[in-house]
């Protein structure tokens, strides 16, 4: 079959991009190879591990379970947009750093994007809420406890100093 190309326009972290893409290109691969914003990681590529989680119009989704062409006209947020331009960490990143919420870091972009949407919707979560929200992200290094601690600390920091 001849390749099926589509012109798309997406906004990623506030920057507009126009590209031509194959219909079969996954959104995760599009971000990594075409823009190229390689902060979004690719783990299982079938929706199980959560490493590729990004925000689509503010909602956490698995970018390996969407086609790039489906993102046409939508606003995406990725890990590259979290820190400030000068490199200062945002409160969720800072808490992960302080609580040793990562070791190898492979799953971290997906966890940070999942938690960005979660803490916005749930500013005062219980530990159990955090674990439920984290359930779609697999981490093989930390055993999760440090991530949960980091998220409780981040939630508190964000409540006391709103952005």
């Amino acid at each position: 079959m001849a390749s099926d190309r589509h012109d798309i326009e997406v906004s990623v972290n506030g920057t507009a991009y126009r590209r031509s893409t194959d219909s079969r290109t996954l959104l995760s691969d599009f971000l990594r190879h075409e823009l190229p914003l390689a902060g979004t990681h690719v783990g299982c590529e079938h929706g199980v591990c959560g490493a590729c989680t990004i925000l689509l119009d503010g909602v956490a989704v698995r970018s390996c379970l969407m086609l790039a062409v489906q993102a046409n006209g939508h606003e995406l947020s990725t890990i590259e947009g979290l820190a400030t331009k000068t490199g200062a960490l945002n409160p969720i990143q800072q808490a992960m750093h302080e609580h040793h919420g990562l070791q190898c870091g492979y799953c971290t972009p997906g966890i940070l994007m999942t938690m960005t949407a979660f803490l916005k919707e749930t500013p005062s979560p219980s530990e159990d809420d955090v674990r439920e929200a984290l359930s779609g992200n697999i981490c093989r290094c930390t055993g999760y406890q440090n991530i949960v601690d980091a998220m409780m600390a981040a939630a508190e920091a964000m409540r006391t100093t709103p952005p």
């Binding site: 099926d4 219909s23 079969r24 590529e45 079938h46 379970l65 086609l67 359930s135 779609g136």
Partner: protein, 292 residues
Amino acid sequence: MKPAPFKYVAASSLEHALSLKAEHGDEARFLAGGQSLIPTMNFRLARPSVLIDINGLADLAGVDRSDERGVRVGALTRYRDLERNSDFLKSCPLFADALPHIAHPQIRNRGTIGGNLSHADPASELPALAVAMQARMRIKSSTRERDVPASEFFMGLLTTDIAADEMLVEITYPAPRPRTGTCFQEVARRRGDFALAGVAAMVTLDQERRCSDVRLALCGVGETPVDASDALAGLVGKSCTDQAIDAVAAEVQGIIEPSGNVHATADYQRHIAGVLTRRTLHTALQRAGHGV
């Protein structure tokens, strides 16, 4: 990992989507939430030559409670939107129990009710809910439109009554009757995993608080959702004692045929089904008594 090549078309209207499906038949698939279809395409277990994206069809999404016959839910309504719709959860409280069990938040943000039911995974929660609640499926093609009861919709493993030129467009859940209580519970190895067994129970009491109707459907224990309501006939017209509930739970265990898998033997699945039948019936009865 990439899907095999295909032609992508974003449908501009329901008519457009249905005419494309009529033209391409089984070679074409509708793309709704994509949370089951895209992984199977990534694995190349599915290789549709045409993908008809229906995500732009806003008319297909949403909940309408204005119809006295029941609550109408558009096929493109996402789990996320049902979870956050307190009026809907009040009308259909089985969903309040069941939705949190469906995969993970990121999946629930994209996945749709119509996609779930059309996919017809027997371990999934919503097919069992549809059977327990006696939902009606509205199915449409370019040339015709029909209603199918949930009891006739699920025909086998990943197989429904939807023909190659048709789409499930809407599901109607009958309005709850007074003095009705419901409960859904399941057992899975980890949060978000498919259920080893799950049970949806619905109990209606009469004025004297005797059981006037009882419905029970299971997921994860057969090739389709299993309607076990007939096995509960012994409860109707009586006040449900613990012994009566134990007896029907044993009957339910007798009629299901779980296959067993790497996570659980068939015996263990049957055991769980019995335990969950008792628990869900007790809770549904309690809720019916409290008018919840």
